[in-house]
């Protein structure tokens, strides 16, 4: 804080700026701000309505998750991963479980893989629905958010039926899943899909091609393909720049190589493309779920490990997966005990957020929230 005060000299009364010279004013946005998507703080130097410079401050939600992992047994860490990206819990659980499975060379039962994929894709839809909702709210439209939350609610009801929790499921296990699905799971999903398609379509029709929405988002927060790669953007933020990179295709994990789906790609790398890529991804996820439901075998889902304590062999492993927000990576070092020596997460939100300073330069104050919203950050994952 002290250094900020010393930098804020242009705002003092007395020195009259020359005509045409920018008058800097410091505007503090966050941590308690309705559209910073959590406790994120941005210090903006503004000249009238234009942002000259932006400085992000993070760490308000720092819980030391990575360090906490070192003190927990392998099975207990799943709950910590639930709380990283608290909007897409299943995806987080999946990538951790895959890391440990890779380390131990475990084979996951066929049916469990399908269950995981279905739940992950449903969670991707739920997460993207939340994105569309907040994107609309950031741009000032109230109604799409309600439609999206209705869809998200339906997905969460299904999650509750499956895992007993609406969020923070703690349902995947190393080498399988916790328990088999409810008997009518196929029926539940089959009933859900048309409703979900309707929810996605409804908010899509209301928002995506709205003239004002286009005016607010098109050509705003543009990031070039080179810059996007340099900043390490992944996920929809990168695909909006025109690069067809999706871990599900580039390095298929789990059983994603068995499904036929497309990767939506944007052209301009602006906020609207980031929005539209996510909308299209929801339709693709629906396609994946439909195929997975058709192919789903019967059989066992539980891990071959049972409830035994795990002591993976010494070594290190890196697993990655495509989360709704981008590529998540887990680097895990085992020293042969029942607790990992080191767990390092490459959180997509954090890497995507690193570009914010670059993107906010010379934008409007009103665009700040839109650009921030289009990155779709989850502070639990940024701060860890």
């Amino acid at each position: 804080m002290g250094e900020l005060v010393s930098q804020e000299t242009a705002g003092s009364v007395g020195d009259v700026p020359e005509r045409g010279e920018p008058v800097e004013m410091l505007l503090n946005m966050g941590p308690q701000h309705p559209s910073t998507h959590g406790v994120f703080r941005l210090v903006l130097w503004v000249d009238g309505e234009k942002v000259i410079r932006a400085e992000p401050h993070i760490g308000y939600l720092h819980r030391g998750s990575e360090k906490l992992c070192e003190g927990e047994q392998y099975h207990q860490i799943i709950t910590l991963f639930d709380r990283l990206d608290y909007v897409a819990n299943f995806n987080n659980e999946l990538v951790y479980c895959q890391a440990v499975e890779k380390l131990m060379g475990l084979v996951v039962p066929e049916r469990a893989e399908y269950v995981r994929v279905i739940l992950c894709e449903l969670n991707r839809i739920a997460s993207h629905l939340l994105f569309v909702a907040t994107m609309g709210l950031d741009a000032g439209a109230m109604t799409p958010s309600m439609f999206c939350f209705r869809g998200r609610e339906r997905v969460q009801t299904l999650f509750e039926a499956v895992s007993g929790a609406r969020m923070m499921h703690n349902y995947f296990r190393i080498g399988g899943i916790k328990e088999d699905l409810p008997d009518n799971f196929e029926q539940l999903v089959a009933d859900l899909l048309p409703l979900l398609r309707e929810d996605v379509g409804e908010s899509d029709r209301l928002l995506t091609f709205n003239e004002i929405f286009l005016a607010r988002l098109k050509d705003v927060g543009v990031i070039s393909t080179e810059d996007a790669l340099d900043f390490g953007l992944t996920g929809p933020c990168l695909r909006a720049c025109g690069i067809e990179y999706d871990v599900r295709k580039a390095e298929p994990y789990s059983i994603y190589d068995r499904f036929d789906f497309d990767i939506p790609v944007g052209l301009d790398g602006d906020c609207w493309d980031r929005h539209y890529v996510r909308v299209q991804e929801m339709y693709e996820s629906l396609r994946i779920i439909e195929q997975a439901l058709d192919q789903m075998p019967s059989g066992d889902v539980a891990s071959s490990l049972g409830r035994r304590l795990i002591r993976p062999p010494e070594g290190e492993v890196y697993a990655r997966a495509e989360n709704p927000r981008g590529e998540i990576g887990v680097y895990l070092v085992s020293d042969g005990t029942d607790k990992p020596h080191r767990v390092k997460v490459r959180p997509p939100s954090f890497c995507n957020l690193s570009a914010i300073e670059h993107m906010l330069k010379d934008s409007w104050i009103a665009d700040v929230v839109v650009i921030l919203g289009s990155l779709d950050i989850v502070l639990g994952e940024v701060d860890r």
Binding site: L27, N28, H33, P34, E49, G136, L137, D138, A139, G140, A141, M142, T143, M146, F147, L206, F209, N210, E211, I212, L214, A215, R216, K218, T225, L229, G232, L233, T234, L238, G242, I243, E244, Y245, V247, A250, E251, D262, I263, P264, V265, G266, L267, W272, D273, Y276, V277, Q280, Y318, R320, E327, G329, K344, R346, F350, C351, I365, A366, V368, V369
Partner: protein
Amino acid sequence: MNCVLAEDNILHGTPLLRWVYELAGLFLPCWLSYFIAGFVIMFILVNAVLLGAAVFVWTERRLVGRLQNRVGPNRWGPFGMFQPIADLLKLIVKEDLIPQGADKIAFVAAPIIMVATAILMLAVVPFAKNTALADLNVGVLYVLAVTSLTSVAILMAGWSSNNRYALFGAARGVAVLISYEVPVVLCLLGVVIVAGSMSLADVVTAQAVPFILVQPLAMFVFVAGTSAELNRTPFDVAEAESELIAGYHIEYSGIKFGLIQAAEFGGVVTASAVIATLFLSGWAGPASNYIGWLWLLIKIGVVAFLFIWIRATFPRLRIDQIMAFAWKFLMPLSFINLMAVSLEVYFLRDSSGALTTTDLWIMTVINLVVFAVCIPLFGSLIRDKVRPAQLQPTARATPGATVQQAGGEVT
């Protein structure tokens, strides 16, 4: 002494007021009893604004709830109807803070001015035949003048709060208000030309065909301008909650906040009344001699519904887009409306200078064509920033070495 109203007096058409006037005139001087009759109208008007605000808040919340697949307030009273009253009670007994370093006088005065403006707007609106508080011969100008007072109040509220967000809200609010004032003033010229008078009562009588049909351009500009001046979506940048949290009233709490909200929603009601009077022929309708007020209420409801509907549908524009909308889109439209109407009136009027209903219908046809041509034409002028969407769902970019760079790294 006995006071008897002249036939052309404004109070004459309303039995209740005439009765009050004549009863009071039995033992009071005539001018005093005139004012007493006036007080009755004032009582009605003040209550109309404040109750109207309450009813509008409830309607908006229920209706927006319905449009958004929600329920809306439903706890207190039938369908949650008493919710605004509960809100008011809560706000009155809530601690009322004045922030440190605030300019106390301006801080307190701002909400008072806002409410006063909202109430004052109704003074010249005729709510039944021959019934208005005052039938000013400059009624239209009065409405415009009172509307602009809001900008002063917004600037006072924003500046006195000693808060940067409030300052931004105030700056935006004032810029929007003064920018939309110009097209609104211009477009009302067409109404005045056809009515041949600035008195709102005469404007209503002149609407053998409602002006929404005769001058659709003017109606469009006026509704857009009014919703900007009321800080309604899509022009609500002054209190954009996602950017400026609450804008100019960010530091207000307790009853002062309540007053600002009442002024805002009451403002919608009064603005709807003005729009209904100017463009939807006000109290005129079947059996309007008896239920003119009902017709006005219905029309206010229609306009207010339009405002709610717009709010539930549209995102918010950015400040520069709003400015461009006012100066580059609404301005030419209102100029065209003015010229078209004056030319039509010049060629259609008869030798005594009167317009028949047939003339109005001819104007309707011409102006609807002008409307249909001008909106897309000038709309394309300000759309240069928006490129047509060209994203294909599965447009294939060439994955190459760059893709390898993107993945596989640990931070």
